[in-house]
Symmetry: C2
DNA sequence: CTGAAAGCGCTAACAG
DNA sequence: CTGTTAGCGCTTTCAG
C-alpha cells in the first residue's frame, strides 16, 4: 500500500496543508505538530508523489539525454557521470539511445516531450535530425545543451577537439612520421579531422586524401567494426603510411585488430593514436596513446549551464560555447623511438 | 509555449472531453470533429502531459533499473537493451547506478519510490542492501525482477551460470589443463565459481584453494583493475597453473594485461577464458574465449515477467525463476592445441 | 501557527 | 456522438 498526504494528515490529526508545510520545510509549524507529523510520515513510510508536485510547479525535475548507444564505453561513461551529478541536484535522468541510426531517436525525443523534461542534453545527434526535432524543444522553451560541437544555436560544452587533434598528430610528427593516415567518425570526428589536417599543413606535410577515411554521415562509425573495416581497406589499397590517427579509441582498437590480422605490428610497423581515453585504452595491447577528455569537467560545466537556463527562462544562452582543454596521454601504441 | 488539452479544445471548438477521446482513441467521435481536433493538435504541437495522466491511472509507465555502473560495457549493453525494449512498450526507464559502492544506491532507490515506478529491475545489488531496501518496494506492491541469481524471493531471469561455467572449465580440461586458476567477482561470480569447482570435481581434479581468488563482497570486482591485481598476486605468489577461468571478460582482460607485463604470453604460456562476451572480447588481443550471454532473451523474458506482474498485482510470482542457456565461444585466448 | 479551498492537466463516469 | 463535472495528490493563497 502506498499512502498519500491525506493519510498522513489523518494519522497525525492535522490538515493536509500542514503536512505539506513540514515536508517542504516551509512556513512556521509548531514543534510538536511537526514531530507528530514526522512520526506519521515515518510510520506510513510516506513519500510525496512527484507527479502531483509536477502538476503544480510545472517542473518535472527530469532531464532527457540523447546518446548514440549505451553499450559504447564512451557514452556509457558520459551517461553515468551525468546521471550521478543530476541525482545529487535532485534531478532524474531519462536516457534515449539513437542506436546509431538516423531518425531513430524520434521515439525517445517524443517521450521527452510527453514527460515534459525540464531540459535536454544532446550527447550526439545527426545534424539533419537536430534540425528536424530540436526546434520543437526550443518552441516549448525547453533548454538544450550540447556535449559536442557543430550543432548551431545551441549552447555547447566540449573538449577542444581541434587543438588536441593537432597535439596528437604533432606527436606523431615529432616521432618522425610524415605519412599519417586518418580514420574519422561523425560529429566530433569532423573537428578532429580538421585538427589533423591543420597539423599536417603547419608542418608542411602534404595532405594525402587517399589515406583519409572520414565517416561523416553515419554514427555506426562509433563502433570498432568501423575502424576495423577502414583499416582493412587502407591496407588492401596498399597505401603508404607509417602512422594513423583515429578519431576515437574504439576505432583505434578496431584498426589495431585489423593490422594484427595482416601481420602488421603496432607500434613496430605502424603507430596508432586514438582519442577519448576510455578505460580500454589503457588495458588494450598495446596500450593506446590517446587524448583524455575531461569528462567530469565537461559534464559539470554543461549541467551548470543547463540548470542556469532552466532557472532563467528568459535569458538567452544560445551563443554560449565552452571549450575545455584535453590532454595527450602517451602510452605504447606509437612506440617511443623516432622513426627513421 | 506548451499547450494543454484546454487550448486544443478551444482551438477546435469542442469540449476537452472530446479532445481526450480522440487522443486516446476511445468512444466514437464524428469523423469531422476528429479531424478538426487532429488539426488543432497538429497546429499547437500539443502533447498530453504524462504527469496528469499518471495522477488518474496511478501508473507512471516508468520502470527503474539499478546497475553497478554504466561505464562497464556489460551493464551499459544491458541497460541499452532494456531501455529500447521498454520504449517500444511505452515505458520510460530511469537508471540508478550504485557505482560499485555498498549503500550508494540508496538515493537512486529513493527516487524510484518518489517517482512511483511501476516496476524495478535489479541488475545487481548487494545482498545486504537488497535486504535493507527492497522490502519497501514489496510493501508498496511494486513488482521486482532480478537479472542475476541469489536474491531470494524475487522472480529472476538469468543465464545458466553454473552450467556454462562448467562448460568453460571443461573446455580447458579437454585442452589438457589440470592446474586451472579462478578469479571471481561478486554476484554472478558466485555461481560461476560453483561451476568451476564442480567441473574440477567431476573430472577428478583436486581443488587448489591457493589459485582461487573469489571476490565475493565487492562490486569493484567488476573492473578490469581487479583482474589485473588478482593476476599479479597469483603470479607473485609463484603459483602453479597453466590456465585461468575469469568470471567476466573485463577481469580476463585485466589478467592478460598483467600477464603481459610479466612476460607471460596468452595463450602460449597460459590459457585464459572470460565470461559474458562483451564486444571487447572479440576485439581484444588475443580475442577471448568466453561465454556468450543471451542478453536480448534475458531482457525479453525479464520484462515480460515484470509487466505481467504489473498487470496482475495479486498473483504471486516470487518463486518464478527462469534460467536461459548460454554458449561457449571459442576464440584465441586458450589456444587450440592440447597442452602437454 | 493552522485549516479550507482552489486548481495544476487530464480521464472517466454520467447526462443529454 | 458530445459536453459537464468530479477528482487524482499535492501546493498555495487566503482566512482565521
Amino acid at each position: 500500500m502506498t499512502y498519500t498526504i491525506k493519510d498522513v494528515a489523518k494519522e497525525a490529526n492535522v490538515s493536509i496543508a500542514t503536512v505539506s508545510r513540514v515536508i517542504n520545510d516551509k512556513d512556521k509549524v509548531k514543534k510538536e505538530t511537526r514531530e507528530k507529523i514526522l512520526r506519521a510520515i515515518e510510520k506510513l513510510n510516506f513519500m510525496p508523489d512527484q507527479a502531483a508536485r509536477t502538476m503544480i510547479h510545472k517542473k518535472t525535475k527530469t532531464i532527457g539525454m540523447i546518446v548514440p548507444q549505451l553499450s559504447n564505453e564512451y557514452w556509457g561513461t558520459m551517461a553515468e557521470i551525468v546521471q550521478s551529478v543530476l541525482l545529487e541536484k535532485g534531478y532524474t535522468l531519462i536516457i534515449g539511445t539513437s542506436n546509431s541510426e538516423q531518425g531513430s531517436e524520434f521515439l525517445a525525443l517524443n517521450t521527452f516531450l510527453e514527460r515534459r523534461v525540464d531540459g535536454l542534453i544532446i550527447g550526439a545527434i545527426y545534424k539533419s535530425d537536430a534540425e528536424n526535432y530540436l526546434g520543437v524543444f526550443k518552441d516549448q522553451g525547453i533548454p538544450l545543451i550540447s556535449l559536442y560541437p557543430l550543432i548551431p544555436n545551441i549552447p555547447t560544452v566540449c573538449g577542444d577537439n581541434l587543438r588536441s587533434s593537432m597535439d596528437a598528430v604533432e606527436h606523431l610528427i615529432q616521432l618522425g612520421h610524415t605519412k599519417i593516415a586518418y580514420i574519422g567518425s561523425a560529429s566530433t570526428g569532423l573537428e578532429r579531422e580538421l585538427g589533423y589536417r591543420n597539423a599536417l599543413m603547419l608542418n608542411n606535410i602534404a595532405v594525402d586524401e587517399k589515406i583519409i577515411v572520414s565517416g561523416r554521415n553515419n554514427f555506426v562509425h562509433y563502433f570498432s567494426e568501423y575502424g576495423y573495416e577502414c583499416a582493412r581497406q587502407l591496407i588492401s589499397e596498399e597505401n603508404d603510411f607509417s602512422a594513423i590517427f583515429c578519431s576515437n579509441d574504439l576505432i583505434a582498437i578496431g584498426t589495431i585488430k585489423a593490422f594484427e590480422e595482416h601481420g602488421i605490428d603496432v607500434p613496430k610497423d605502424k603507430a596508432v593514436v586514438g582519442f577519448d581515453d576510455i578505460s580500454m585504452a589503457r588495458l588494450y595491447r598495446p596500450a593506446l596513446t590517446t587524448v583524455k577528455q575531461p569528462l567530469e569537467e565537461i559534464v559539470d560545466a554543461a549541467l551548470e549551464l543547463l540548470l542556469e537556463q532552466i532557472d532563467n527562462p528568459d535569458k538567452s544562452f544560445t551563443q554560449k560555447k565552452i571549450t575545455l582543454p584535453m590532454k595527450l596521454i602517451v602510452r605504447e601504441s606509437c612506440g617511443s623511438q623516432k622513426k627513421t
